[in-house]
């Protein structure tokens, strides 16, 4: 026998609704049957040690992946990954992807008629350090239109993907920017019922992270599920 700790469950209102018809693509892609509650076993409390050996030193700097510098407003995005007990999550992979400064993705399916930037792919990865901190250097992504509804525009955002220590802690989210007027009209952002939970997806301008005469700094902390204090027998 051995001891396992399960991971705490989410408060429903702090997570997006699954079926949110204002975001049209949810209608044909959301299960209608209730989810079946899965007690955590070894399968859920373990997770891949993925990408730890595959992060190159420059992967976190999206402005240095091509011969020239990308166009746009250079920014630093920094934050700490914690669990819901306040403990840092060290050595976990953080992956990001984003549009360029004009609001265009380096992707064959993106047909928005905004210019491509030959010096910007818009993908990066980093490992958190011993205290759970990560840092990216990139350019501020532009807003872009999408076909969800008449005159629909996504607010500027950066996609984040994190693993954490377990299958149960996997998270994909999006980071937004302070003061973006498009957030109020964005069904992806608005699919989260709780106002405070929405606000936590908005990064904060941070003068301490800002580098003089170089780049604006934004802080974006991320909280993953933590494990229960009381272990059970597996």
């Amino acid at each position: 026998m051995f001891k396992l700790s399960s991971f705490r469950r989410h408060e429903a209102s702090s997570q997006p609704m699954s079926l949110y018809p204002a975001y049209r693509a949810t209608v044909q892609r959301t299960p209608r049957q209730p989810l079946i509650f899965l007690p955590h076993t070894l399968s859920e409390v373990t997770g891949p040690v993925y990408g730890r050996n595959a992060v190159a030193a420059t992967d976190h700097d999206l402005t240095r992946q091509h011969p020239g510098e990308p166009l746009g407003e250079r920014i630093i995005v920094k934050g700490q990954v914690l669990d819901d007990g306040g403990r840092p999550v060290p050595e976990t992979l953080v992956e990001i992807w984003q549009a360029n400064a004009a609001g265009r993705y380096f992707h064959q399916k993106d047909d928005h008629p905004a210019p491509m930037d030959p010096n910007f792919t818009g993908a990066g990865r980093a490992l958190t350090d011993a205290n759970g901190f990560y840092e990216f250097v990139t350019i501020k992504p532009g807003a872009y239109p999408w076909g969800n509804h008449e005159n629909a525009w996504r607010p500027a955002h950066i996609h984040f993907s994190l693993f954490g220590p377990a299958f149960a802690t996997r998270l994909v989210t999006q980071m937004y920017f302070p003061g973006d007027p498009l957030s109020a009209y964005d069904p992806i952002f608005q699919s989260i019922p709780d106002e405070r939970a929405r606000q936590r997806l908005i990064s904060k301008f941070d003068l301490e992270i800002t580098q003089p005469a170089w780049a604006l700094g934004f802080r974006f902390d991320i909280v993953l599920r933590g494990s229960e204090a009381t272990p059970f027998e597996g």
């Binding site: 209608v27 299960p31 079946i36 509650f37 040690v49 996609h159 909280v223």
Partner: protein
């Protein structure tokens, strides 16, 4: 600081850029891994039965003896170094993706009842605001009858969690994810 877990958001249609263009993993267990070779073929369909060509599937599995390749496997038995246990692929124009792996062993379950061999599965896509999680079991595996997790699933829906062998291609197993609709796959609250 507020320590409520960060809200999930969809991967959107362009996740390939960050996740699978350069960092897809189709080989979950290499050729030297112990166990029965499996080629797992997954297909994702939406509520209209239309193939989903912009989904990402991730797999997490045990080695042939039921050990996970990670320091957090508390069994303390170690694991097969040739079975990394993790895979992730984007679906193609037909809504399909493929993994090269081995059949996982039985993993301890609840109160001493071991689980039947299974893959732990995450499904991400445009239109999916929160990761969907399901499991893939092997059709006709006698261990399925004893699995404490399968027992939680209403009997009439258990078949949605079964991969089917391709009789013409030994080792090939086929699994369909129906996001919704009449054949909707069982998804779990993990």
């Amino acid at each position: 600081m507020d320590l409520t877990p960060t809200a999930s958001q969809t991967v959107g249609p362009y996740f390939h850029l960050g996740c699978t263009n350069n960092h897809a993993v189709s080989c979950i267990a290499g050729p030297d891994a112990k166990g029965e070779r499996v080629r797992l073929i997954c297909r994702v369909l939406d509520g209209d039965g239309v193939r989903v060509d912009d989904a990402m599937i991730e797999i997490w599995q045990a080695d042939s003896e039921g050990n996970y390749n990670t320091p957090t496997d508390a069994q303390g038995k170690g694991s097969d170094p040739d079975c990394a246990g993790f895979g992730r692929m984007a679906t193609d124009a037909n809504g399909k993706c493929f993994f090269e792996t081995i059949k996982p062993g039985r993993v301890p379950g609840i109160k001493g009842r071991s689980q039947a061999p299974h893959f732990n599965v995450s499904v991400f896509a445009r239109g999916i605001l929160k990761r969907l999680t399901t499991r893939i079991y092997f059709a006709d595996d006698p261990a399925n009858q004893e699995c404490p997790i399968l027992a939680l699933v209403p009997e009439e829906r258990r078949a949605t969690l079964l991969a089917r062998p391709d009789r013409g291609n030994p080792g090939d197993w086929f699994f369909e994810v129906h996001l919704c609709g009449k054949d909707e796959t069982v998804f779990f609250d993990v």
